[in-house]
Amino acid sequence: MSKKKMFSTNYEPLTPSVFYILLSLSIKEKHGYEIMKEVQDTSKGKIKLGPGTLYGTIKRMLEEKLIIEVQKNNHEDLERRKYYKLTKHGQSILSSELKRFADALEIAKQSTLNISPLKLITYSV
């Protein structure tokens, strides 16, 4: 059964939650709660993921092989928590997204420079 891939092309913008999860896992592997906290901090509270929303996104990201599960034996932690880390594919998707942002920012900067103060005033009116 062919299923439409959601993050398959480098040029397709990622959803905010996927982007922030990838970003949080780019530093080190984390479990659900750590990911949620990191996403909340990085997005300055704009993205709040509950357990259901987070694991729904994680499921899709696992299917797309953007992340993988990692076994971690923490003897202090009696719970069988699953940790997740970025795959190479995930890293490249994140890099592409960051590059897309950088390119967009560059274009925006250039456009702003080309617009004269008079034009800006006209636009704002």
Partner: protein
């Protein structure tokens, strides 16, 4: 991580909320979601010293949104065959629920059969206590079954004018105590609804395709029938419907008995990596029973118009017998001829992946071993004979 804060009630509440997710998703991520919930709960306690109402609102909102998304995702992934199977099982489930709806029909035919309200209250109580006090649960179920049977007998006596002395006695018992069954039908309705969570897991185990959406439909069906039963007055027409009702139940009970009979027949389930099942088998034992399959190869040579042939056995593969009675021991390490039914199904492959074999409405599951794609068969061995 420190997870020392004990919050059993909150955990239980969240576990209950997790039941709204599709079963497969819940098995995969439920445990992790519970850990995350515990962390959020602990964070809330550490920050505010208490759990406020908005915490639960956020959690419930998250469950509603994400569980709906997951159900939608599951439905999209279902093949036509699965949907057809789901519908087929739904018919069976509908019949089972019709059986449970007999109380409503009793109300429909002969109003004030409050005995069912008591029965339902019992069942509701059992659901509540079933985790802690199994003795009371068993006693309660026995009482409920007795009450249920008495009422069925009462209906049979009224409908079919049965004169059998024991039936008449029980009918009189019902009539005599009827005024004391004063518990309202509202309680009956609500406790019936409480029955649903008890019924759903049974069907999930049996068929594996019963969904919560279907459960909601049945709940609505319950409410409609029970409400109607309170509004309609007894009539000849309704009594005719009652007769049809009992006929349906009789068919259903017969079908159930047939399934139970089939279930108790010896069945052997195995895995077969081969298409061709004709040949010579050898039964081995290595924790499980194994049948080693050999291809019979005939090699002939012709020297001066004289043909000489030798047969040799070439090992082609193994198949395991999941369920094997002790009598198979006598065939160990001997060549055998197996006759039976073999159905080839595409298996999951890989180590420790669970596969399930469906037979009728039941399914049996076990972990697969070995890599690659396996073809496994619900294998009903009719006979095993020595070669």
């Amino acid at each position: 991580m420190q997870n020392k804060i004990i919050m059993p009630s909150a955990d239980k509440a969240y576990l209950w909320l997790l039941s709204f997710y599709p079963e497969k998703y819940r098995k995969e991520y439920g445990e992790q979601m519970l850990y995350m919930f515990k962390d959020l709960y602990r964070e809330q306690i550490e920050l505010y010293g208490t759990i406020n109402f908005m915490f639960w609102v956020t959690i419930v909102k998250d469950v509603i949104i994400s569980s709906s998304a997951q159900h939608f995702e599951t439905m999209k992934q279902k093949s036509l065959q699965e949907i057809a199977l789901s519908l087929g099982n739904s018919v069976l489930i509908a019949l089972f629920i019709l059986l449970l709806l007999t109380p409503a029909i009793a109300d429909l035919l002969y109003t004030s059969s409050q005995i069912f309200a008591l029965l339902n209250m019992n069942l509701a109580l059992f659901i509540w206590i079933m985790n802690n006090m199994p003795q009371i649960l068993i006693a309660g179920i026995v009482i409920s079954i007795i009450l249920y049977l008495i009422t069925i007998i009462h209906l049979l006596v009224v409908l079919f004018k049965i004169k059998q002395p024991l039936f008449v006695k029980l009918h009189n018992l019902y009539i005599r105590f009827k005024p004391y069954f004063v518990i309202s039908n509202i309680l009956s309705l609500s406790s019936f609804m409480m029955l649903i969570p008890l019924i759903i897991p049974f069907f999930v185990n049996v068929s594996g395709v019963f969904t919560q959406e279907t459960g909601i439909l049945f709940k609505s069906f319950f409410v409609i029938i029970l409400t109607l039963s309170q509004m309609v007055k007894p009539s000849k027409l309704l009594q005719s419907i009652g007769l049809i009702w009992f006929a349906l139940i009789a068919i259903f009970v017969g079908y159930l008995l047939f399934i139970i009979y089939q279930e108790f027949q010896p069945q052997y389930y195995g895995t077969f990596p081969l298409d061709d099942i004709k040949g010579v088998y050898k039964l081995n034992y290595d924790g499980d029973y194994w049948i080693t399959y050999y291809d019979v190869k005939e090699q002939c040579t012709q020297i001066n118009s004289i043909k000489q042939c030798n047969t040799s056995l070439i090992k082609k593969g193994n198949t395991s017998i999941v369920e094997a009675p002790g009598e198979l021991d006598k065939y160990l390490d001997k060549s055998i001829i197996v006759t039976g039914e073999f159905v080839k199904i595409h298996g999951p492959g890989g180590d420790n992946k669970q596969f399930c074999i469906k037979s009728g409405i039941t399914s049996k599951c076990r972990k697969s071993t070995g890599h690659g794609i396996w073809y496994f068969s619900p294998l009903k061995i009719k006979s095993i004979k020595l070669k």
